[in-house]
Symmetry: C2
Subunit: 151 residues, 2 copies
């Protein structure tokens, strides 16, 4: 880690650590997916993981949560529909909305996979104090707000 006392230098280290985390988590999940012979990608699983918490949302909300372009989201949901894991249902009240619902199959995956995701987070957070992580999140969100203001 940089120790020259320059915070912008430190911020570069931060972004690297941050990216590394996602990369390692991806490898973890992919290893589990292979181990359990699930024919599904990390990206598709991310969408399912959100739906397991909050079913029946529109695509824009999913795009915001997973932090992807809405066209990427369309593409990924097409894929989930093809695999019979979710279905698109037009919103009665606002027909622009397409609400995404888990199918029975999509819900079943949750039972198999949620424990593995939780396990990964437990591994990651071993020896980390709650308060320390809270402060880190507050800081990251503050940085994000700073950046958003000049966007």
């Amino acid at each position: 880690m940089n120790t020259t006392g320059n915070i912008t230098e430190l911020a570069r280290d931060l972004t690297r650590s941050v990216r590394e985390m996602r990369s390692i988590m991806r490898l973890h999940i992919q290893a589990k997916l292979r181990e359990y012979q699930f024919d599904i990608s990390f990206e598709l699983l991310e969408i399912l993981a959100y739906l397991w918490r909050q079913d029946g949302v529109n695509q824009q909300e999913i795009a915001d949560i997973i932090i992807k372009d809405k066209s990427s989201t369309t593409y990924l949901i097409d894929n989930l529909v093809k695999r019979n894991l979710v279905e698109r249902i037009a919103d009665e009240n606002d027909r622009r909305n397409k609400l995404i619902f888990l199918t029975r199959e999509g819900k079943q995956l949750q039972k198999q996979f949620n424990p593995l995701i939780t396990e990964m987070y437990e591994t990651a957070t071993a020896g980390i104090a709650f308060g320390v992580m809270e402060k880190a999140i507050v800081m990251l969100n503050k940085m994000n707000d700073n950046l958003k203001q000049t966007l």
Copy 2:
């Protein structure tokens, strides 16, 4: 932010903040690239930014730094070579290594672009204490180490 007192839940918030940061930074840089009419992508710029700090390294080192697959790195460096921003020079001592050197053109870009990158980091870090960021990085690295151990 989650406040149920469950650290694995909090860790999910963390990963989201972390991804959001990269997404916003990408938008920032892309806006600058457009503003100054640079015909170059965010990804290519990331490689250049590293070379500006450390010129004449091999592709594997670049791949490690930018956290990408080595085939992705080959592809991106091909692109930089095409644009005459870097050149590949086989290492005399170990001809497996291809050392990547900035061309004069590649170096010139640094003068134009480095201040903009620094400016972005300055914006991001406004009101953030050095010690707070240090602790956040230590925490992230600890989490990464935790995850690497079970990889």
